[in-house]
């Protein structure tokens, strides 16, 4: 269990980061002694964020107890931050990540290194933010990243189909039709989250895998699989082949961003591999 591993003290503080015309809620976990490295954590999207929340918190506390500060943010449209979900876009999320890194840099000028970490869609956000941040960033960590916006949105829409089946016993609007509706600006509500046209268009168009500007800093891609011998995806292997600063690994963990039979508060293999990589920087 994460919190019983160590009883080393840490400091915790919540605040708002001003971005554009709104506020981003942020939660900072710090070691008592000043940290040299900080990790800014960008979450997954919608209900994946809620299911993964406790793993994020445990990871942040673990880092702080190891002497690394961790700043968790809620992108606008989610958690405690401003904006309704349907008004948030990929662009606002990238702006939030960039704003958080710059805010932390201004607040903690002694930090030597700021690492941006993202999970699922948050990894796509982190990758796009890394382009804008360039040399302001020390490294990039991508947990089970969304490589392709279309595949991701189709996964999201599966839930909509399930809801249709539960409600009426049939699928009245197939997935491709829903995707088309999204792209022409229709709001599709999935389990309370309104996916708007602008957001969907941006996700579909987002291309970070082939963008060399993403990989100017050391980057760790960690893919998460439940199989005993997890294998890297073709996308990860091609990125590693194209960029020498990229390390890609695969770890065995349950998909903690979805409902599971187990109650998952902690991702030990993911944490250990990420911490090891961070400490090697």
């Amino acid at each position: 269990m994460p919190d019983t591993e160590s009883k080393r003290p840490l400091r915790e503080e919540a605040f708002s980061i001003p971005v554009d015309t709104g506020r981003v809620f942020a939660f900072l976990h710090e070691p008592v002694a000043p940290a040299a490295t900080a990790v800014v954590m960008v979450h997954a999207c919608a209900e994946e964020k809620n299911w993964a929340h406790r793993v994020y918190v445990s990871f942040a506390r673990n880092l702080a107890r190891r002497g690394i500060a961790a700043l968790r943010i809620d992108c606008r449209g989610e958690g405690e931050s401003d904006l309704e979900f349907e008004d948030s876009t990929l662009e606002t999320r990238v702006a939030d990540a960039v704003g958080a890194v710059r805010f932390l840099r201004a607040q903690r000028p002694d930090l030597r290194n700021i690492v941006l970490l993202g999970h699922r869609l948050g990894a796509m956000v982190a990758a796009l933010a890394a382009v804008e941040l360039g040399g302001e960033l020390g490294a990039l960590v991508l947990w089970d990243p969304v490589y392709d916006g279309r595949t991701y949105l189709l996964q999201v829409l599966r839930q909509h189909l399930a809801a249709q089946m539960a409600a009426s016993g049939r699928v009245s609007v197939p997935r491709e039709e829903l995707l088309r509706k999204m792209t022409v600006g229709e709001l599709i509500v999935i389990e309370g989250y309104g996916f708007g046209g602008k957001f969907c268009k941006e996700v579909l168009a987002a291309s970070w895998v082939d963008n060399a500007a993403v990989f100017r800093n050391p980057t760790l891609i960690t893919e998460i699989a439940s199989s005993e011998v997890p294998r890297l995806s073709q996308q990860a292997e091609s990125i590693v082949g194209a960029h020498s600063v990229v390390t890609a690994i695969s770890v065995k963990e349950p998909a903690f961003w979805r409902e599971n039979r187990d109650y998952i508060q902690w991702a030990p293999a993911l944490t250990a591999s990420t911490v090891q990589w961070l400490e090697s920087l």
Binding site: N50, F85, E191, G192, D262, Q265
Partner: protein
């Protein structure tokens, strides 16, 4: 505007986090707050930020909303001891997070002066709010979305029959699919989800048509008989007990459901229909609101809007008018100061009914306890019971007395003192009446307190310098109302002699309680029970008046033998105290409150316990244990183990060890505590300044004395 609150947990180890959504205007002008609790294992915003969407309905009515993360969830500290999600749900339904809710209320009371709360939220939050309301009278109402009424995530849940609504929905889905050739193609080309298909068929056919039929055969379509129906194993008994307790105490509950939520059909079929008679009896205090077509988490904007309307309507109709109606009662309250004991004796029925409607329903405030106490200790005291009447109904009372002679505050300053009935005995003769205080029908605390203070200030109980109100439970609307009223009147007040009462919030099953104990204590309990059984031991609880005297003598003898051997006077050394219990026990037995139990091996009694079972709470009062060279049989462990198990079987919700004192062993049984304290109220002036000055001087003197002794010992 919102702010993150850092709330110390009751364990003192972890910090809980909660986001406070504040109304506009001045902080501290809030008479009521709402606490929305972690829904299941999700953080404090809830799925699709449901809580943030609903919070505005409270905030715009000047009700701040605290969205709280339970320990080990959301942002809060702590680790959750559960491997499976099902384990979490089981623990939540057993009341795992009651202490967290109470810690949040304590914090809100201390920081913002709020004494009344609405609690609840979605699913697990709803049941936690309800179970906390059962134990904490500061909760004025329950706000629930998707309340689970069956046991979720346990073996019971796995065998619970599908509801008729669910079976109908499944049949409808299969009927539609059977009409569609594409689904046959999918089925025959191995594209269907056969696991799902099989499980639905198995549920529908095997359990649905058999077990559901068995259950429904025994259950009338709608039970209006008023008799309690049989409870199937899968029904959450904690829910049934707690919802009626809440409603019977005059507090309101809003039960909001999505119309297609499985929990709604379970609520209807397993609770609302079989318990219709009992629900009707509590009138509109249990209010059901259904958002048609909505799912469990209200995951569509139109459903949220309907939920907001329902919540706003409930707040406006039920919750917020309460102060207005209470204010009306103030005008019509009639004050009677009872100084004649015969008159007090006549109030038996009215007193009992009023106490049952109050939030301070404790055995030490019963007519039986108070009148017995007065008979034994009334000498040299003047009875001053302030009774408040409204349209012929007793709605509140302050059971007080005054000394006929001046008391010495801090042993030095002569003061005219008014005290609580059942307190202030001479040292060595104390009965130790924990949980005493003033009484008011739930929701009328402020009015009752003001009426009593009006009477006291007007001198209807004679002139006085200080009121001493010891052993009141501090985290109650009564104490909050009293302190606020004193502040507004410019009376000096302070809380002294705080002390914790370790207690057990009892789960539904003995095994669940045992699992929550520390491993070494659990081992001791199991071993003691095993060895007692192997030795042929028997535990017997007094049932009849004719066995009472003998068992009473056994208790007193065992207790006195042990304590006098240690050079202590023992609890029954005082003739006054013995007399009190000899008079009270028969009354308690007749009322069904007394649990006087004796452990025997052969002809030898090795331990005895004196508990009181009142209003589904067990109060551990005293015990006696056979002094022995070795502690092999552990009578102390056996007495509590037997009593706790019996309390769980009887459906009690709390086992209270009363004040801890020197008895650290109580902590090894407890999973929570409540705090008692002495509320001292004084008229400002010379007497008050002298009293406080003398007390400070005595404290300094004591410190110096201890330092001198330490120095002397060191030399």
């Amino acid at each position: 505007m919102n702010q993150l609150l850092h709330i110390p947990s009751h364990s003192g180890v972890d910090m809980l986090y909660g986001m406070l959504d504040c109304p506009a205007g001045e902080q501290g002008s809030w008479p009521l707050a709402c606490i929305l609790l972690s829904p299941g294992v999700k953080p404090r915003v809830a799925p699709h930020r449901l809580y943030r969407k609903l919070s505005g309905e409270f905030v715009r009515r000047n009700i701040p909303v605290l969205r709280l993360d339970f320990a080990g969830m959301g942002d809060s500290q702590g680790v959750y001891d559960a491997k499976l999600l099902a384990d979490v749900y089981t623990q939540v339904q057993a009341g795992q997070h009651i202490a967290d809710v109470r810690a949040a209320m304590d914090y809100m009371a201390q920081r913002f002066g709020i004494g009344k709360f609405l609690v609840g939220g979605l699913c697990g939050a709803a049941i936690t709010g309800l179970l906390t309301a059962e134990r904490d009278s500061r909760i004025a109402g329950l706000f629930s979305i998707g309340m689970p009424v069956v046991l979720v995530g346990t073996e019971s849940a796995a065998v619970r029959p599908p509801t008729a609504a669910l079976l109908t929905a499944n049949r409808e889905i299969f009927r539609r699919k059977a009409m569609n050739p594409l689904h046959w193609v999918r089925l025959l080309t191995l594209q269907s989800d056969y696991g799902l298909l099989w499980s639905v068929m198995r549920e529908s056919l095997k359990r649905g048509f058999q077990k559901a039929a068995v259950w429904r055969k025994d259950t009338p379509p709608e039970n209006q008989t008023g008799q309690e129906p049989a409870m199937p194993d899968f029904l959450d008994r904690n829910f049934v007990r707690a919802i009626f307790k809440l409603a019977n105490s005059g507090r309101a509950a809003l039960l909001l459901f999505g119309g297609t939520d499985r929990y709604f059909s379970e609520y209807q079929e397993y609770f609302a229909v079989p318990w219709a008679g009992q629900i009707a009896a509590v009138g509109d205090r249990i209010e059901l609101q259904v958002v048609p077509e909505a799912n469990h988490v209200l995951g569509e904007p139109r459903w949220i809007e309907k939920a907001k309307l329902a919540v706003g309507d409930w707040l406006d109709r039920i919750v917020l008018p309460a102060p207005a109606s209470s204010a009306k009662q103030t005008k019509s309250l009639r004050t009677e100061v009872i100084t004649n004991f015969e008159r007090f004796l006549q109030l038996r029925n009215q007193w009992t009914e009023m106490l049952g409607r109050s939030s301070s329903n404790s055995v030490t405030l019963t007519w039986e306890w108070l009148t017995t106490w007065w008979r034994v200790y009334g000498t040299d005291r003047q009875l001053c019971v302030v009774a408040l009447w409204s349209e012929g109904r007793l709605v509140g009372a302050a059971p007080l007395l005054r000394r006929k002679r001046l008391a010495l505050a801090a042993s030095i300053v002569p003061v005219r003192r008014i005290e609580l009935l059942a307190s202030g005995e001479a040292p060595g003769h104390q009965v130790c009446s924990d949980y005493i205080g003033w009484i008011a029908e739930a929701g009328t605390e402020t009015q009752v307190v003001n009426a009593v203070l009006d009477a006291l200030v007007a001198g209807h109980c004679g002139t006085w310098d200080e009121l001493l109100l010891p052993d009141m439970q501090l985290a109650t609307p009564m104490v909050a109302a009293l302190l606020e009223a004193c502040r507004l009147r410019g009376l000096d007040y302070e809380i002294l002699d705080r002390e914790a009462c370790p207690l057990i919030s009892l789960p539904a099953k003995w095994d669940a309680y045992m699992e929550g104990l520390g491993s070494s204590h659990r081992y001791r309990v199991r071993r003691a029970l095993r060895e007692f059984e192997a030795a042929g031991g028997k535990y017997h609880v007094a049932q009849h008046a004719d066995e009472l005297a003998g068992m009473q003598a056994t208790l007193m003898s065992l207790h006195q033998t042990r304590w006098t051997a240690r050079g202590e006077p023992g609890a029954f050394g005082s003739s006054l105290r013995r007399s009190f219990h000899q008079q009270f026990m028969p009354l308690a037995l007749a009322k069904g409150w007394l649990r006087l139990g004796v452990l025997r091996i052969g002809d030898q009694s090795i331990g005895a316990i004196y508990n009181l079972n009142y209003a589904n709470r067990i109060f551990f009062y005293q015990s006696g244990i056979l002094p022995q060279d070795s502690n092999a049989l552990r009578p102390g462990v056996l007495l509590h183990a037997n009593e706790i198990a019996a309390a769980i079987d009887a459906g009690c919700h709390e086992y209270d060890f009363l004040k801890r004192g020197e008895s650290q062993y109580k902590d090894s049984w407890a999973n929570g505590s409540s705090e008692l304290g002495l509320v001292r109220v004084a008229k400002p002036g010379l007497s008050n300044r002298l009293t406080k000055g003398a007390r400070r001087a005595r404290m300094r003197l004591a410190v110096i004395k201890r330092a001198v002794i330490r120095k002397k010992d060191g030399q």
